[in-house]
Symmetry: C2
Subunit: 414 residues, 2 copies
């Protein structure tokens, strides 16, 4: 078993980088958007920990960081673990960090015990997993796995027009090594569940069977600025009203039950000129759809598209454009790796269930390169995440990393 | 008759201060929010024109500016005209400016002709008529008329936390004279209609019978940030969805026809943290209601309040707060002044109709001090306003100011 106190201390130390105090709730949150100064400071801290643990650190052209512990067989492909340390703007201490710091904790434990493995073990930190700064999630791992190109990623811009490529250089994380990852032997990622299933089933860890499909798009609505007091209702082309109708319609699609286990979220919404007595001339919003079933996802996307067409046709003066931000299909994980994880949990006497992931993870990208699966750790408060209230107990974190350690050892001796 | 070319030239010159090019439409707009650098530059230009026209300029503690042309009777109360030169962020050249520059053009014409009047004529420029920077419309005139206090106005803040009092000092428009206006003999304001009625009736000018009621409030909705992928729909407290439901509900109140001639606009809307994969934790929006009938306005406000209560009660985890920003009742204008305006239009051979104003105007505040009415000038393109497309022809502007000149002369000799 790993050192749970040391793991916890690392999690709490890292959470101070980019920390903020939430006035309303009194909670302390984390805001470490990818490739901001806070993220760069976090990266430097974690790289220092990797080096203290004896890992050989390399950084690729996408800013992905790998720390390598050599095995006894110099020709064997490594077993990879890891996750991300970038966060959303209202995050907790665990999302992503548990997988990275858990991987480092496993290495520390192996070092202390003098354990050697046949295969190398590598711990990866992937760039912009959250996708909230540059608009595409699982970005670093998607480029490492070859699904997206380096050029595409470098050209992405944040809301202030900064390119990802420029921010890599500015923060000092535009590394020299090739971004395409040589296929590892296997990839295992330990992550908080970010949902209520493990708590509802009262088990500490989950074996993840795959990741549901994710569809992100941006919708821009052009209407016409007009005076709120004088413009008769029938002469308005109200972009804000259209955005509101889309949001309400999306919820009705979910509530209808006709699109399987659909989830729909409008997280980003702005109107322009954004003034009390002016009918909005323009609205910009994002739509995040999730569905474990590819056919149902396609039907939901088509239902949204039909609604947008109707809005454009029915309401004179409105025009709508959509832009695809990200789209990942349902990804099933490897049965063999799932079995190793389940066996490891049994060895530690930990109850476990199998479950699908609601969130996207770097593992779904690396799954294109090698057998892959994930370990989920239970979260409190319905598993709330992307919120300062996000919390997993020290015990739950230690249990998850115990399972990770045993899983990595098994895979590294295959 | 006044000099229409000179009036037009002044309008076009002033519109260059704070001008911007609208990329999408190719139009040139005006952005001169109250007490910004652009507004201060506009004020300096207009004060220079006042001085060139021989007006004695004074500035009060609210930044309201008055230019005075003496009459022959030193004891007679002045006839006041004027309007505002602050603008919304997506404005045209005419809103407010026509009344101020029209007043100055009348003075220029009287000077050229060597015409003296018994009463003094004053031209006023009122601070923050639009209400979009500091949240309360007709602010300068409301303080001058005694409806709102100077302390209230000075303490108002913009979105960046700048106080109005501080901005008055910063721009050099915190004047020395008393803000409470000694009752003028009468007030007449010439303004673009900002609506379609005059164009629909194919008449150049309107005699304004009053201003409909205006209700502005800000609604803040507190929900709970949560992960878009993992959070089951029934566990969400989505502040953005609630905002959307309010917007859609407001439109249904309007469309129901059950609240008289209600207009409802949500012009300002932001969500927090405003990121693709996070259920909004907070939404902030404004609601602008207009109604010519006070009882119908009260019913509409109550219908909105009931909807907000239902939202709060039905959806666990949502809490809503409202803040009153501005509220003005229906204001009827003076019959006598309306008759003088109608007679002046007849004298110029201009067809006219009587109509109610959809927008708030400084005249409704000054109406508390003295007999007051307004002259409306026809706008093109359905009278669109608060939009760079806002346009009245040079002829229409000149017609309106001709009527203003004759009206002021009559009133100044009463
Ligand atoms: N785990 C996680 O929060 N990933 C971000 C991508 C997503 O929104 O699912
Ligand atoms: N005339 C004008 O645009 N006034 C601003 C106040 C309002 O919104 O009616």
């Amino acid at each position: 078993t790993i050192n749970g106190d040391r793991l916890w201390q690392s999690l709490m130390d890292l959470a101070e980088i980019g920390a903020y105090d939430d006035e309303r709730t009194g909670l302390r949150g984390v805001n470490r958007l990818a490739l901001t100064d806070a993220d760069a400071a976090g990266r430097r801290r974690v790289v220092a920990w990797m080096e203290e643990a004896g890992l050989a650190v390399r950084i690729d052209r996408m800013g992905n960081i790998y720390g390598r512990r050599e095995g006894t067989d110099p020709t064997a492909a490594p077993v990879l673990t890891g996750s991300h340390i970038d966060s959303v703007a209202t995050a907790g201490a665990f999302d992503g960090c548990l997988g990275v710091l858990g991987g480092i904790e496993v290495v520390r434990t192996l070092n202390e015990r003098g354990i050697t493995t046949r295969r190398p073990i590598e711990v990866g930190i992937f760039t912009e997993e959250e996708g909230v700064r540059f608009g595409t999630d699982m970005l670093g791992s998607a480029v490492a796995a070859g699904r997206l190109t380096l050029e595409y990623a470098h050209a992405l811009t944040d809301r202030d027009g900064h390119t990802l490529g420029g921010e890599l250089i500015r923060t000092g994380f535009a590394g020299p090594t090739d971004v395409r990852l040589a296929p590892p032997h296997a990839y295992v990622e330990c992550h908080i569940e970010q949902g209520p299933v493990l708590a509802e089933n009262d088990v500490p860890v989950g074996v993840v069977t795959g990741v549901q499909g994710i569809s992100w798009q941006e919708i821009t609505i052009h209407g016409r600025a007009a005076h709120a007091g004088t413009t008769p209702t029938h002469l308005r082309a109200d972009a804000g009203l259209a955005a509101a109708q889309i949001i309400v319609h999306l919820r009705s699609l979910v509530d209808s039950g006709a699109y399987g286990d659909l989830r729909a979220t409008v997280g980003h919404l702005i109107v322009h000129p954004d003034l009390t007595n002016i009918v909005p001339a323009r609205a910009e919003m994002t739509v995040d759809l999730r569905n474990p079933d590819e056919a149902q996802m396609a039907r939901a996307e088509e239902a949204l598209a039909a609604f947008l067409r109707d809005l454009e046709n029915s309401r004179s003066g409105l025009s709508l454009t959509t832009r695809r931000m990200a789209k990942t299909a349902y990804v099933p994980f490897d049965d063999g790796v799932q079995k190793v994880i389940a066996q490891a949990a049994d060895d530690h006497g930990l109850e476990h269930i199998s479950l699908l992931s609601g969130a996207g993870h770097d593992a779904q990208e690396i799954a294109a390169l090698c057998p892959t699966a994930m370990i989920f750790v239970r979260g409190e408060y319905d598993g709330i995440s992307h919120n300062p209230r996000e919390y997993s107990t020290p015990e739950a974190c230690a249990h998850g990393v115990d399972v990770l350690a045993t899983t990595l050892l098994r895979l590294a001796d295959q």
